[in-house]
Symmetry: C2
Subunit: 286 residues, 2 copies
């Protein structure tokens, strides 16, 4: 069973599942697990790992339109080197500080493979779910896509410092809060734009037609296939949201990051430049 089928099963069993974060009253909570073989390429510093792992959870909070309150983490490794643990915790503290959240500690676990679990909490009386998109709206993304793909290229090219820098993204918590009340549906782009669109399509019962030329691609991503990689590579942590076209200008004025309209909400199907956009991207567990 692939990850998405299994997640569907979890959704069936758990009433509250199926969004970027779970809702408990006015609290949103999310948990993630990242590990060396799939998430931290050779060269990833422990500082970057702490930043990125906690950042991924904070991104889920952002996607609910919630302010981030705090995060906790577990550092799992075969041994606990002082410098490594300290660097990880400093990365976790710094990414939390970036979004005005508190990193309030965590635990250690002896684990053969370097494995990190993180949970983040947020607060909002009105979480933004994935199911509110409707025809006639537009679909927009914050920032630029392809940053993590560019980081991978930099790791492969041996430019480890630049790669780590690219890996340390800013979770879009401020943007998420500003889009709350403006966006009809929202999620993050952690599995890639293509997959995000398919997921929003499924949960909202709509379609999307996006324009390739409109997709904001991170400057650091080079190569002829940069559009395809920006669209499907994933592991970016931008927000993908729908909103009425007349809401775009006021939303932009409220945001501290660029908001780019990439296409329209349609009745059904997900297309790019009129052609079917495959539901492919990063599926954890494949």
């Amino acid at each position: 069973m692939d990850e998405r089928v299994a997640l569907g099963l979890v959704d069936d069993l758990v009433d509250a599942a199926g969004d970027d974060a779970a809702v408990l009253g006015e609290t949103v909570v999310t948990i993630d697990m990242l590990h060396e073989t799939t998430d931290f390429p050779a060269g990833t510093t422990r500082y970057t790992a702490g930043w990125r792992a906690v950042g991924a959870s904070l991104s889920d909070v952002a996607a609910m339109g919630a302010s981030a309150t705090g995060a906790v983490g577990v550092y799992g490794a075969p041994s606990f080197d002082t410098d490594d643990v300290e660097a990880f915790v400093r990365g976790a503290l710094d990414v939390c500080e970036r979004v005005s959240a508190e990193y309030v500690g965590g635990d250690l676990d002896g684990h053969d493979e370097f494995t990190v679990a993180t949970a983040a909490l947020g607060e909002t009386p009105t979480p933004v779910s994935r199911d509110g998109a409707s025809g006639g709206e537009v679909v927009a993304v914050t920032g630029a896509l392809g940053r993590s793909a560019a980081a991978l290229d930099a790791f492969e090219a041996g430019d480890t410092e630049r790669a780590n820098e690219l890996f340390r993204f800013t979770p879009r918590v401020g943007a998420g809060v500003a889009l709350n009340g403006r966006a009809s549906a929202m999620m993050d782009s952690s599995d890639g734009l293509a997959r995000s669109l398919h997921q929003l399509s499924e949960t909202s019962g709509v379609g999307f037609d996006v324009e390739g030329a409109a997709i904001p691609i991170h400057d650091a991503l080079r190569g002829e296939d940069r559009l395809a990689r920006a669209t499907t590579f994933g592991e970016d942590f931008e927000l993908v949201c729908t909103l009425p076209s007349e809401g775009v200008a006021p939303a932009r004025a409220a945001l501290d990051v660029p908001l780019t309209v990439v296409g329209d909400v349609t009745e059904a199907g997900v297309t790019m430049d009129g052609e079917a956009l495959a539901d492919r991207g990063y599926t954890h567990g494949e």
Copy 2:
């Protein structure tokens, strides 16, 4: 660096660390990671794994004297078998139901080793920390110790059904709430009573003298070394707390589980029957 030294480092870096759960306003939050080689002996069902992993986090919430509100989990495994995932989620749902919390979903992660991350949330305006014990008080434990040691014996004896049953403990959330305002310091016994006493001793700046004959040992634990195993094996999830001796009777009246006084709070040192009680038990990562 062993786990406790590393955790001390985390405490130094993170103001809020160093208790069973972290405190964010009136919310307490905790995260744990469990995995096959150290936490789930062969024969542990996925239902039991879900129950136990989420239960371990709920136990941390209980140790803060908080009511449990909800929990989330990540199921990490090499593949996602329908029955396995469903059993895990059902275990998580059932242990949450046992303590009136909600299991609100989670995620899946492809992982070579079966690895589970869980986070639990609770609410209390007055969390009970580990540092409030003072001389002249008594130290008490809920329920009985040695249940997990007995489970291990049952796994080894091939009585898998009984072992799984013993592994599915009830997190002491109700007791934790009832002890809030009564206990001066509290933590859970997940690393064993001996280690809990040493930790309370360190954080509260006191000592303990416990009476071996007073320690409540789970009926299922057999053998000549049952006192030693009940004291040091750990992986139980009872509450260890300090309170004034005159508070014991009213506390008992408020609790739905037995509360047994096992000794006195002293000025310094941890002893059992007057002899030094070694600071040994279960250290994750050893």
